[in-house]
């Protein structure tokens, strides 16, 4: 069963950025958390809450997949989120515009999107268990139980 990233424990987040650094380091081969598909943000400065901007693994039809003019983005098995084939990407950036929650970043040098590949590295490097990988079926159940996603 495919798994997707969720952020059920953001109330525990301390803003250490270890997750962003993990994504940059392990997936995007970079020291800079700018190159990370997860972005931690403060709402209202340090006095406010910390939030995670992450791919919400949209149900079908997946907007970024719909927008992609090639087959670089395809819907994942299980019908939530997308799979990315880098060598088919032409660098048009339409997926960035299509994302309804504005979480697909852009690597201007490589001309490729920065998006979640659902690998779970950020979860592994979170010291407070704010993040969790759940299988697609679990995600649907969570939606049912709490009336909202993640």
């Amino acid at each position: 069963m495919p798994t997707v990233l969720t952020d059920p424990g953001m109330g525990r987040c301390i803003g250490c950025y270890s997750c962003m650094q993990a994504c940059a380091r392990m997936v995007y081969n970079d020291f800079s958390p700018h190159k990370s598909a997860i972005q931690i943000r403060t709402v209202g400065g340090m006095n406010g809450r910390l939030v995670a901007n992450i791919c919400r693994a949209c149900p079908e039809p997946v907007p970024c997949v719909q927008a992609c003019p090639t087959d670089a983005l395809v819907t994942r098995d299980g019908g939530r989120g997308m799979r990315f084939y880098k060598n088919k990407c032409i660098g048009c950036g339409l997926c960035v515009k299509a994302c309804p929650v504005h979480v697909i970043g852009w690597d201007g040098e490589a001309e490729r999107p920065i998006l979640c590949v659902f690998c779970g590295q950020c979860v592994k490097f979170c010291p407070h268990d704010c993040l969790e990988m759940v299988d697609v079926k679990g995600l649907s159940q969570r939606f049912d139980e709490h009336g909202h996603v993640g």
Partner: protein, 584 residues
């Protein structure tokens, strides 16, 4: 700079509004952080000019490993201290190191004085001088709020700013960093104020590919991350934070109380780390790149209106051991809410909490003895009366009354004006004592430390660990520890992680990003930085053997019993011999 053979320095002149960027190969010999900041200070400081002369520099430096390994989060500032008139060095976490490194700078050197209040905006290679007229007079919270709205880049920007105290040149004004952190000690905020510089906003968006280093770097990162989060190397910072020290120090008789008239506080339990965590702790926060998150933030509820209204003015207040000591036990304030109220007040004004508390503690005793007047200050200070202290903090921040302006110079200088030097518990030329009265290594360590901070050489820890050292051994330990800390702080490693970053770990981290440093080289680095600090102090005319240590330190027994001025004098003589042997 990471992956480069140079240190990239941004020079900004506020008078001429000119900027310059230099790639300095020679500075790599000083690593970064404290090393580079001290070297740049030595090059630019003006010993013959006043501390507030526009030509005096202020420097902020980071290191080659900044924020790419866990808990390497600090930025180091150096300047001529408005408080002591001599060597000033202060460290801060927050996001300043993260933002500067991604903006592409290892160090920032600011000289000159802006004609009108401005804030400096560093956005990658764009350096802008922005008008700050509207911000002048705002407290640190309001200034931060306005600057955030003017400079949108949430999560990736750093906003460091001063409050009214910095503008009014209070000699121990601090620089607020990301709301909860500070360049706290020695008056960097007044240096900003003298330069008409309200704030520095830094936004960095550069990328740094791992390249060929990827495999080894990932491996070493994971090892350090594991050590930080899964072992007890940093346990105390995970849990109660630094305030866990309050109770043990009190039990040992090492918690300075009521201007060090005592070293035990009867209400210590009420303001302990445990009590604050149980009743007031709202959340913890981290500096960018630190999975520990030692920043403890309390909820302060202050009722207003009629009691039956249940209306509260609620705010968030960060607390640490030193603040609890300085604005709690040192002032006899034993109620948590009142302590938090004072921490908030000093923070909004932009004043170093330790120096504020030590100065007010002196003022309380001076007022009791009739040396200063309650009429002039507009309030009668009594130990335990937090509302009177709040009034006094506001008066110092505003600087309208002559007495308040003298209090804004710190306890030592106020005592030189009004009398009462014997109980002005400042060390090494005016630096208010930190929250320990452990014994000889603490007092002497404070006094001989390059910046007179308890963190220079951690004498308080030597006192707690050893009770059988000869005077020679104590001095040697203090010097060795300070040299080792020069190495650690040149790497910008947070000193809370000193047990994580043992020598082997430091070498592994450096090697994993292509910087092989040997033990000998790292030892030499620490010695070199230490020597350079002593050189600067010499140029500024400082001699520890001629500066008096206030009588109060000898009157109130420390954790190790009463201290003798004779023995301290002997230790300072040994210190002078050791320094002479270093051929600084």
């Amino acid at each position: 700079m990471l992956g480069k053979d140079y240190v990239r320095v941004l020079y900004v002149n506020l008078t001429t509004r000119r900027v310059d960027v230099q790639q300095r190969r020679d500075l790599t010999a000083y690593m970064g952080g404290a090393g580079v900041a001290v070297k740049l200070l030595a090059e630019t400081i003006q010993p013959e000019l006043d501390v507030f002369d526009p030509a005096q520099p202020m420097i902020i430096a980071i290191g080659p490993l900044s924020t790419i390994f866990p808990v390497i989060t600090k930025a180091v500032a150096t300047f001529r201290s408005p408080l002591t008139g001599e060597f000033g060095e202060s460290h801060a976490g927050g996001r300043i190191a993260y933002a500067l490194s991604h903006a592409g700078y290892d160090a920032l050197v600011v000289t000159g004085r802006a004609e009108n209040p401005i804030y400096l905006r560093i956005h990658d290679n764009r350096i802008e001088f922005q008008d700050a007229g509207v911000l002048w007079g705002t407290d640190t919270l309001e200034a931060g709020r306005i600057l955030r709205s003017l400079n949108p880049a949430p999560g990736h920007r750093s906003i460091i700013r001063i409050g009214p105290a910095g503008e009014k040149l209070v000699r121990y004004a601090n620089v607020n960093v990301e709301t909860f952190r500070h360049f706290g000690r020695l008056g960097l905020g007044a240096v900003f104020g003298a330069k008409n510089l309200k704030a520095i906003v830094t936004i960095g968006t550069h990328h740094f590919p791992l390249g060929e280093l990827a495999k080894e770097y990932r491996k070493v990162y994971a090892e350090v991350y594991h050590k930080v989060t899964q072992t007890d190397a940093m346990g105390k910072y995970h849990e109660l934070g630094t305030p866990m020290n309050v109770m043990p120090l009190n039990e040992l008789g090492a918690l300075p109380t009521r201007n060090l008239q005592a070293a035990r506080f009867e209400a210590a339990e009420a303001i302990s780390g445990e009590a604050l965590a149980e009743d007031n702790l709202m959340f913890t926060r981290a500096c960018a790149g630190c999975p520990i998150g030692c920043i403890h933030v309390a909820l302060l509820r202050q009722p207003f209106g009629e009691p039956e209204w249940y209306h509260f003015d609620s705010s968030l207040v960060p607390y640490d051991h030193e603040l609890i000591y300085a604005l709690g036990s040192m002032l006899g304030v034993g109620r948590r809410e009142e302590l938090l109220m004072l921490i908030e007040e000093a923070d909004l004004a932009g004043m170093d909490a330790i120096s504020t508390g030590v100065t007010l503690a002196w003022a309380t005793e001076a007022m009791t003895r009739g040396l200063i007047s309650d009429e002039e200050l507009g309030v009668e200070l009594c130990f335990g009366d937090a509302h009177a202290y709040r009034h006094a903090i506001r008066a110092i921040g505003r600087g309208e009354i002559e007495l308040a302006r003298w209090l804004g110079r710190g306890s030592l200088y106020a005592a030189q004006r009004y009398g009462g030097e014997d109980f002005a518990v400042a060390l090494g030329g005016g630096q208010g004592m930190a929250g320990y009265h452990t014994g000889y290594a603490n007092v002497v360590g404070h006094h001989i430390g390059a910046r007179h901070s308890h963190l220079c050489n951690a004498g308080y820890a030597i006192d707690q660990r050893h009770d059988d050292l000869t005077d020679e051994e104590t001095i040697d330990k203090l010097i060795a520890e300070e040299q080792e800390r020069c190495t650690l702080t040149s790497l910008c490693i947070c000193l809370f992680a000193r047990r994580v970053y043992d020598r082997e770990t430091v070498k592994a981290c450096l090697a994993s990003v292509g910087m092989p440093w040997s033990d000998e080289q790292l030892d030499e680095l620490g010695r070199k930085i230490y020597a350079l600090k002593l050189q600067i102090k010499g140029r500024l005319g400082y001699d520890p053997t001629t500066v008096r240590i206030p009588q109060r330190f000898f009157e109130t027994p420390s954790m190790r019993g009463p201290l003798s001025p004779k023995r301290v004098g002997r230790m300072l003589t040994i210190y002078r011999e050791r320094v002479a042997a270093l051929n600084v």
